[in-house]
């Protein structure tokens, strides 16, 4: 009954159910990844190849359509970092060294993070909503009866598109963040763009770029898998789709931030 106090046993039972649901979701995610790579590698042999046209369509939706917002937000983050960096370093009279902070922050942290969060909000939620709607409309069942594997048909194109487009958007975000920050540094400190670019290239190594792009690949897999697991778990009609979509965004962003922290910790040891 609503309003009744839960007993200790019921609370423990609730925690237990949550733990089981979490383990089940992780397991489902693992199965989806394994199955996706199976179809990607052996789809042709099984006479069910992954369609390039479907991948390109997903790449357009996930990547190309997100370019304007990525440019806007990573540019803004770049300027914000320049403002904060100059403000902080001015205390020590070292504002000319702001390039170091901007370069590392944008390449290793902010560009992958902002891109991941944006793609999770735009495309992870759309993936969950699409698969959830297809499930309640029996479209997934229709695919199965037609002999079309739903993972191969729906999940693999989205996963491949994420794996290509999230790093590509991250790279774009890196350039935009650095460029916008450079414009601000030029305006505030009078450092020329050429000198700023020279300093930035001097400071950064391929490892830094690899760090940022490597993370973005992990984010891509997380966004796709979390979207699919939530979409496939939809129950209860349109309301269920709404809940799954919200849950997908929250879980994907949380996973991205936690993974980012763990990745940074491991990569800097």
């Amino acid at each position: 009954m609503a309003g009744q106090k839960l007993t200790a046993t019921q609370r423990i039972e609730g925690v237990g159910k949550l733990a089981v649901a979490f383990v089940e979701s992780v397991g489902n995610g693992g199965i989806i990844i394994a199955e996706s790579f199976y179809w990607l590698l052996f789809g042709v042999r099984e006479r069910q190849p992954v369609r390039i046209s479907a991948v390109i369509q997903q790449m357009m939706d996930i990547g190309v359509a997100a370019i304007p917002i990525i440019i806007l937000l990573t540019g803004t983050i770049g300027v914000m970092l320049a403002i904060q960096g100059i403000h902080t370093l001015r205390i020590f009279g070292a504002e000319s060294r702001v390039t170091v902070g901007i370069a590392f922050s944008v390449v290793r942290e902010f560009a992958p993070l902002i891109t991941g969060i944006l793609v999770a909000g735009r495309s992870g939620s759309a993936l969950a909503a699409r698969i959830g709607t297809m499930k309640i409309n029996q479209e997934i069942d229709a695919l199965k009866v037609m002999g079309i594997n739903p993972t191969r048909f729906l999940v693999v194109p989205a996963l491949v598109a994420m794996l290509v487009m999230v790093p590509a958007l991250t790279l774009l975000g890196i350039f935009m963040g650095l460029f916008a920050a450079g414009l601000y540094v030029n305006a505030d400190l009078g450092i020329s763009l050429a000198a700023y670019a020279h300093d930035t290239i001097d400071i950064l190594s391929l490892d830094d770029l690899g760090h940022g792009l490597g993370k973005s690949c992990i984010f891509a897999v997380l966004i796709a898998v979390i979207g699919v697991v939530n979409g496939a778990g939809v129950q209860g009609g349109a309301e269920g789709v709404g809940k799954a979509t919200t849950r997908s965004v929250v879980q994907a962003i949380s996973a991205i931030i936690i993974t980012d922290m763990l990745f940074a910790f491991v990569a800097t040891r």
Binding site: T133, N137, Q138, E139, D141, A142, K144, V145, G147, I148
Partner: protein
């Protein structure tokens, strides 16, 4: 319920082909659970070649679950099932896929892919399972749309179609690979009587023209009596009877007659049994009064 005599008179207006001797689907002692709840309690049945088998039953009788099993969409607890002569527990994945290609399904909602046009929906199985060129696929899709009287609608999106048209388009997609068995889930649900009757005619036409076996789940009595060669009546996960329309109409079973005359279950139950079910004595764990 309509007068049985008028039902039989109406059925005589259309010649019916003989069902084949072989079974396309054989189910033996099928048991299935959702969680701890037993849904199907040892169902055994056959669907014959070139036969229209209608599965009927009240809400919660397990007819939709049975249909999902017949389409090999659900995991069973026990029992055996052969589809097109293949034991689905014994076959390889490739054989299972080959079986699947010979099945067609028209779901209650149509289940058309909303991101594709009607034509693309119909061509999808061809695109996925054949090496036909695009022009041939388009011609085949148009031919199937002609069969379901939807010619000229191939470029519309599913959202631009009416309920009856969506069901027709779903039929066109279901038959595009010329399946051996066609499954129809509540084909006339939610449609006005004229459109529903036209869909019944379409089901009969498809069987006559293409020689397929058709399994229809419905709770529409008029529709069932019009199209069925045989009827399976399910009640609380068990088969009450399997028989021809004549046999069903002549059944002396109270539960069959209650279903045919739309009498609520509680009106035909023993009062003590009804009370016992209501207060949960049979299943104390489910009652929270």
């Amino acid at each position: 319920m309509r007068n049985p005599q008028s039902i039989m008179e109406e059925r005589k207006t259309r010649e019916r082909p003989q069902s084949g001797p072989g079974a396309v689907i054989e189910v033996e002692d099928l048991v299935t659970h959702y969680g701890e709840r037993m849904i199907l309690k040892g169902v055994s049945m056959q669907v014959l070649e070139n036969e229209i088998m209608v599965i009927m039953g009240g809400s919660g009788s397990g007819k939709s679950t049975l249909l999902r099993h017949l389409m090999a969409l659900e995991e069973k607890t026990s029992g055996s099932m052969r589809i097109l002569g293949k034991d689905i527990d014994q076959i390889t994945r490739k054989e299972f896929l080959d079986v699947r290609k010979k099945l067609g399904v028209a779901f209650q909602s149509g289940a058309l892919f909303s991101s594709m046009t009607v034509g693309e929906n119909i061509m999808l199985p061809l695109y996925e399972h054949t090496d036909l060129d695009a022009l041939t696929m388009e011609i085949m899709a148009r031919m199937k749309l002609e069969v379901v009287e939807l010619s000229g609608f191939e470029n519309l999106m599913p959202s631009e179609l009416s309920g009856g048209m969506i069901k027709r388009a779903a039929f066109a997609r279901a038959i595009v690979m010329d399946p051996k068995v066609l499954f129809c889930d509540e084909p006339s649900a939610g449609l006005d009587p004229v459109v529903a009757s036209a869909l019944d005619d379409l089901i009969l036409d498809m069987r006559d023209a293409m020689g397929m076996s058709i399994v229809v789940v419905t709770h529409e009595l008029d529709s069932a009596f019009k199209i069925a060669d045989r009827i399976t009546i399910l009640d609380r996960g068990e088969i009450l009877m399997i028989g021809t329309v004549e046999e069903v109409l002549a059944s002396k079973s109270d539960r069959v007659q209650a279903l045919l005359n739309r009498i609520p279950e509680e009106d035909t139950m023993d009062p003590d049994e009804y009370l016992s079910r209501l207060v949960g004595e049979d299943n104390p764990g489910t009652a929270h009064l």
